[in-house]
């Protein structure tokens, strides 16, 4: 029993626009389909007439440097993101997150575009992209493509700001900062979850930082699930910016993080108490790694 009738496989963005505009409705874009197909089959998403497969669109399946940015196509399979040397060099947190999303079979087809479009507050790829201050390129049926900060794409758990009947994510831009005399940058992603993955993490954390000698010049911290949408620990960032990450500063940052974060109890996964306990160790671990890498 197929919960769709027509399956299109456009080769260009123009064809995607055309398909979304004129194919029999309701129409939805699909990439890896690892979330969407389950939702359709298990009745959490109403059946559709048309699925528009994005994985053959050339501009959505490249990873390349574009000026001061690393561009990652939204339809690149996560396993390719994981093994890509440019990503490893400029977005190490994303390399690490890409190794942990779901299991190997899923990673071979799942995409970052889907990870972000699904709008889950603890998606590993999303949390890494958030700490990397990613910008997303959005294409709509009509009009120019637009660039928006990743953080603006989320409305609530599972609720994306993208109108999936009319819009798609084309790709992601991550700023490339080459190491200089003055400072070095690095990032790190870790999570707590049993080794096999497959399900969502109990908790994850990504940190990007720029190190200037023994000071943190700049830092971005993302934690999932830290609220209804992917969470940036901006108060903890403010505590650490310009500081030397001593035990004492990190503890103050942790207090700020705990003050801002909204952990909730999910009966099938973990309690808020457990997450509050875990986040301390995880946060210390991730910041330590990121700091050392930028040394």
């Amino acid at each position: 029993m197929l919960p769709w009738q027509i399956y299109l496989r456009p080769q260009t963005l123009a064809e995607v626009r055309q398909a979304l505009d004129s194919a029999p409705k309701p129409v939805l874009p699909i990439a890896g389909g690892t979330d969407l197909l389950l939702d359709l089959r298990q009745g959490r998403h109403a059946p559709v007439q048309t699925l528009v497969d994005l994985t053959a669109v050339a501009e959505m399946t490249v990873i390349e440097l574009r000026g001061e940015h690393l561009f990652i196509g939204a339809a690149v399979p996560v396993s390719r993101v994981h093994s890509d040397p440019l990503v490893a060099r400029h977005a190490r947190a994303l390399t690490e997150a890409s190794a942990l999303i779901a299991g190997p079979q899923v990673r071979n087809v799942a995409t970052l575009g889907g990870n972000v479009a699904h709008a889950l507050p603890a998606a590993d790829g999303t949390i890494a992209l958030l700490a990397l201050d990613t910008q997303a390129e959005i294409a709509a049926i009509s009009g120019e493509n637009r660039i928006v900060p990743l953080s603006q794409l989320f409305l609530g758990p599972g609720k994306s700001a993208i109108d999936k009947n009319k819009e798609i994510i084309v790709g992601f831009y991550i700023q490339v900062l080459e190491a200089s005399e003055a400072f070095k940058v690095s990032s790190c992603f870790k999570r707590i979850m049993r080794p096999q993955g497959v399900a969502l993490p109990i908790i994850n954390c990504a940190i990007w930082l720029a190190r200037e000698g023994d000071r943190i010049r700049d830092i971005r911290i993302a934690v999932g699930p830290g609220g209804p949408i992917p969470f940036r620990a901006t108060k903890a960032e403010a505590v650490l910016r310009g500081q030397t990450p001593t035990n004492e500063t990190i503890e103050r940052a942790l207090i700020a993080l705990l003050d801002q974060v909204q952990f909730r109890t999910s009966p099938r996964r973990a309690s808020a108490d457990y997450r509050r306990h875990l986040v301390g160790g995880l946060f210390r671990d991730v910041i330590e790694s990121a700091w050392e890498r930028a040394g």
């Binding site: 029993m1 298990q42 399900a199 009966p267 309690s271 108490d273 457990y274």
Partner: protein
């Protein structure tokens, strides 16, 4: 006949090629011309009276052929042990109480249509008017006098099983004790999570029988239950098993069989159903949750003197095999140890939860968790090694069990414990057995320790039931046997039983394995095989096939061509519990196991990993050593899920973990770093070539061995499983 040619070798499984190449036909793969599709409307509520079912809109959906409700079922009841469950719940039931749903997975209507979509659409358009009834979800509350009754038509109590053991004088026994350990142990539901969700195809065969192709564990009892509900003679019903994608006990009770049979019988067209994973998880029974409160006493020399056990098992909404499961719990809850004074009370209690059902180990894992944890705690109190205290109390030949009679010999628990201990590095010293030293990792938050536990399990249902199994063997050829055809209806649920059967036939009649063809799992031309459960199939089918083979051989030597013989093996007689004392000879055979587990605990996250599992099992005779190892490894992994990971979450009878994305079973990345199987062969005098039973055995000791290891690593006892990180951290006092 002392030398064996085929027994003890590991030929390639008969079904290996088909299963590896994807050609094997499972129930969900079946189809027939003109086939209809069925969907079930489940209750999705824990306790309610069905007042009215309006199918008007549903019947108007194009393609809908029929909608069956309670009033269409000729005899609207079924159940393996007690017929206490309606086939379909609703008004007009032929049986009293048939209008009530008692758990979320009760079935209300069966919708048949030309397509699966139409059936699903119609299902969602059926309007059911319910009157919710007071419900009860905690078995201890359900035991109270004022609790809502799950089956008011069956008497004024929810207690559906109560077994008592009274051996010796426990109070006098406790007076001799130098140490007494009390404990309360809590055990969870477990979902079978077999690869293949329930599915089947029913049609009328060329002889006019309603024929059901389905995955089950006991062809002839499936047939009996379908025939009963349809009001047909058994000969009018045929049950055939294609390839079965795992069972583990979860297919002992009916799921799709009766409704499929009903639809095919009434519509005279083939009808197919496949349950979704979610339907499977809410729709079939689970391992019984249990609360076990115990008090054990021992002398300072480490000899057990008294044990008192109170075991409350959640039967859920229907009996299923609860009476049999808890019978095993009753025997096993004092462990494979000699205890002179025992007082045991085991209760099974109806609630509005998913029914407690058969599941690998059949009541033994719950009991073993309590018994073996008690042994580990006594060892700590007495400053004895866990292996040493077990050996001081292990049953010897002639020792009476709690039921007042000895286990049939030879009792091999001493050899098994010693074999597991030695393999794990335990040393026998003048001061007794000593655990191997543990190398602690450099990270201070990671703690390692060895845990140890033993266990035993009866082979067969027994408890007074006359265990039996039928077989037929045909010898074809002229001067020599060219071809052997053996008939047996025993279920191949993935364990490899058909391969083992062919090996035993080959051995019995003295031909190479390749000459044997198995004809299997069809009630049309075979006698009753008995269930593929209770670790009984190798033992029972082996004796049946051996008997048939030897009888055919006799005819062969008398020049009959082909030489054909049928044989029904009857196992040694057993007796049920005497009501007040439990005195009985409940089983004809036991098998024994012991495990040592090296555990690593992350004291920051609460994660528990199994580094090494040493599993020693006395199988009597490994008919096929590779398959025996497979059973051991599979059981250990499934038990790891039970002990550590699998968290079946319910809320007021509703199942929250109803997908495999939320109910997490072990995968290849979770399993122990190493599983070392140590197979012992202490022959059973009545087993075929000495074989005992194996399927459940290696499952039983794991959970208490793991908590023993956690204690060795951290000094903390965790008396409730699963050992999800959060629970471990709470036990360690890291979170409140």
């Amino acid at each position: 006949m002392s030398t064996k040619n085929v027994i003890g070798t590991s030929p390639v499984r008969l079904d290996a090629r088909e299963k590896v190449t994807g050609k094997a036909i499972f129930p969900g793969d079946l189809s027939m011309p003109g086939m209809l599709h069925m969907k079930i409307l489940f209750a999705w509520r824990p306790h309610a009276r069905v007042l009215r079912i309006d199918t008007t809109e549903a019947r108007a959906v194009p393609g809908v052929v029929a909608i069956f409700t309670a009033q269409d079922v000729p005899v609207n009841e079924y159940g393996l042990q007690v017929k206490d469950q309606p086939v379909l719940c609703g008004p007009g039931s032929s049986i009293e109480g048939g209008d009530v749903v008692r758990f979320v997975g009760d079935q209300v209507a069966a919708i048949v249509a030309e397509s699966e979509q139409a059936a699903a659409k119609a299902r969602d358009l059926i309007r059911v008017e319910y009157e919710d009834l007071p419900a009860v979800f905690d078995p201890e509350q359900a035991m109270q006098a004022d609790a809502p009754l799950v089956h008011p038509e069956r008497g004024m109590s929810n207690i559906c099983v109560h077994y008592k053991i009274r051996k010796g004088d426990v109070e006098a026994g406790f007076k001799q004790a130098d140490v007494i350990v009390e404990g309360e142990y809590r055990l969870p539901f477990q979902e079978h999570a077999y690869l293949q969700p329930e599915a089947g195809l029913a049609y009328i065969d060329e002889e006019g029988r309603v024929t059901i192709k389905v995955a089950g564990q006991w062809t002839h009892v499936d047939r009996e239950q379908v025939a009963h509900a349809l009001g047909l003679p058994e000969e009018q019903v045929r049950v055939v098993y294609p390839a079965i994608g795992g069972a583990f006990g979860g297919r002992e009770d009916m799921s799709v069989q009766i409704v499929l049979g009903l639809a095919a019988w009434k519509l005279r067209r083939p009808v197919k159903i496949i349950w979704t994973r979610q339907e499977s998880i809410i729709g079939h029974g689970k391992r019984h949750p249990a609360v076990i409160r115990v008090r054990w006493g021992a002398t300072k020399e480490g000899k057990l003197v008294a044990a008192e056990m109170n075991f409350i098992g959640d039967a859920g909404a229907y009996m299923y095999t609860t009476n049999k499961v808890l019978g095993n719990s009753t025997i096993v809850c004092t462990g494979p140890y000699f205890i002179p004074n025992v007082k045991t009370d085991v209760y099974g209690v109806y609630t509005n939860n998913v029914p407690g059902a058969a599941f690998r180990g059949f009541g033994a894992p719950q009991s073993a968790f309590a018994a073996e944890s008690q042994m580990n705690k006594l060892a700590e109190k007495l400053n004895l090694d866990p292996v040493e205290i077990r050996l001081r109390n292990a049953l010897r030949d002639g020792d009476t069990l709690s039921v007042g009679t000895p286990a049939p010999g030879p009792v091999s628990i001493v050899q098994v414990i010693e074999a597991a201990a030695r393999q794990a590095g335990w040393k026998e010293t003048p001061q007794g057995w000593q655990a191997p030293p543990v190398e602690q990792p450099s990270e201070p938050h990671l703690k390692r320790g060895w845990g140890f536990a033993a266990g035993f399990k009866n082979v067969g249902f027994s408890f007074g039931y006359q265990e039996n199994s039928w077989a037929r063997v045909e010898l074809h050829g002229k001067s020599e046997i060219e071809r052997v055809v053996a008939y047996h209806a025993g279920a191949e649920v993935g364990q490899g039983t058909h391969t083992v059967m062919a090996q035993m036939v080959a051995e019995a009649v003295g031909v190479p394995f390749e000459k044997v063809t198995m004809v299997v799992s069809d009630t049309a031309n075979m006698g009753n095989p008995g269930s593929a459960s209770a670790s009984r199939m190798t033992y029972m089918a082996g004796n049946a096939l051996r008997g048939a083979g030897l009888a055919a051989l006799e005819k062969w030597h008398a020049e009959e061509r082909p030489a054909i013989a049928e044989y029904t093996y009857l196992a040694p007689k057993t007796t049920p519990f005497e009501k007040e004392t439990g005195y009985s000879t409940p089983n004809f055979c036991y098998a024994y196991a012991a495990q040592a587990v090296e555990v690593e605990v992350d004291t920051e996250t609460g994660e528990v990993r199994l580094l090494r599992v040493i599993a020693a099992d006395d199988v009597g005779q490994a008919i096929n050593p590779k398959l025996a190892e497979g059973q051991i490894e599979g059981a250990v992994v499934q038990a790891q899920g039970y002990a550590i990971q699998e968290n079946f979450v319910t809320q007021n009878g509703r199942v929250l973990s109803d997908q495999l994305s939320t109910y997490l079973i072990p995968t290849i990345l979770d399993i122990p770093g190493e599983i070392k199987s140590v197979i012992l062969e202490v022959p059973d005098p009545n087993g075929p070539w000495g074989a005992r039973g194996l399927g459940e055995l290696p499952y039983i000791p794991l959970a208490p061995a793991v908590t023993g290891g956690i204690h060795a690593a951290t000094g903390t006892w965790v008396d409730e499983i699963p050992l999800i990180p959060e629970r471990v951290l709470r036990s360690l006092g890291k979170i409140t």
